[in-house]
Amino acid sequence: LADLHGTAPKPWSPASASTEPRKIARDRIVLIMGARSQLWSIAKMSVTGGVIGVTISDRYVTVVAIKGHSMHPTMTATDSALRGDIVLAEKACLDQYKFSRGDVILFKCPSNHKEVFVKRLIGLPGEWIQLPASSEIIKVPQGHCWVEGDNAARSWDSRSFGPIPLGLINGRVTHIIWPPSKIGRVERKWPEDRIPPF
């Protein structure tokens, strides 16, 4: 015991017994204050981390889980968020709203602002595109774009709700980061059987 404490431990005596409870109480107060200040510093760190995380997610890059089958097989969804695909979306494109044909974008649904869709951008503002079903040719208005899902059979997109304002776009999907077998860039692709716009 002498090695542990450095000095020889004091033998117990009635005199020392009266001061022990006060020391224990003081030690306990120090412990509680220490725990409270630790809790406070944990709270401060989480608020700071949260604020920085929200800023990064709003301005630079964000992570989204795919729920829906409209982009199969590029991106698939399953019932649980963990087994569906998870993608990385960048927000730098929202500075100038400059997109290219074939980009995969995230946007708010025009008939329900709380839902976010992911589809491929088929027509840019001012372009004439052909509707796949009929042989109609329409012009995409200024400030709008035409979006379609890769899985045409199960995609609710511009063929149903028309061109969407660019202001509804939330970001551009650049990479798939889950599942490991699909990790990689999301390529700018043009659907095979579509005539490119002019």
Partner: protein
């Protein structure tokens, strides 16, 4: 290089005035506490980054400031010089209704932010003058689901839903209900029905 002997620094006799200046300069550089400066700079930088992030979160998600310009909302808003508080919480929660003045991304150019008054929410019937000033003709339209009808108070000089149609609610970025400048007009913006 400066040789050291038993801890003492013995300077070499410089061969020329410029070499003397160089060795003085190098000695000065070595004396500056670089590591301490780098430590302080990085902690100040981190603090500034945290501050900027906090400003972004508050102005984007809670309360922002707007400087609307243009004649389309006269007389409620001046043509220029007004400073308005923008509530960013209400649009996200759906607390926007007819009569509110809102900020929205223009459906004709997403880089432009416009201020207009909401006249109708989804399902409402809106009657609007087709050609204000020239004729009294009006048209009635039902606002589709998820959309709103926005119109400037100054119907003679406003590019709004009468031209670009009902806009999706998702374009609304803020609700402006309080003016903080100019001092003569500080107060809430009337919400006309």
């Amino acid at each position: 290089m400066i040789p050291k002997t038993k801890g003492k620094i013995i300077p070499i006799e410089p061969s020329s005035p410029s070499a003397a200046a160089m060795s003085r300069f190098v000695r000065r550089l070595a004396g500056i506490p670089w590591r301490q400066i780098a430590g302080e700079a990085s902690s100040v930088g981190l603090l500034m980054a945290q501050g900027l992030c906090a400003v972004h979160v508050v102005s984007e998600h809670v309360l922002g400031v707007a400087f609307p310009r243009g004649p389309s909302m006269l007389p409620a808003l001046n043509m220029a010089g007004d400073v308005l508080l923008t509530d960013k919480v209400s649009p996200r929660r759906g607390w926007v209704g007819p009569g509110d003045v809102v900020l929205l991304l223009s459906p004709e150019d997403p880089r432009k932010i416009v201020a207009k008054r909401v006249l109708g929410m989804e399902g409402d019937e809106v009657t609007y003058p087709v050609d204000a000033g020239n004729s009294d003709a009006t048209k009635t339209v039902v606002v589709p689901q998820g959309h709103i009808w926005v119109q400037g108070d100054n119907i003679y000089s406003s590019n709004d839903s009468r031209q670009f149609g009902p806009v999706p609610y998702g374009l609304v970025k803020g609700k402006m209900s309080y003016r903080i400048w100019p001092p003569s007009r500080i107060g809430s913006i009337d919400s006309k029905e």
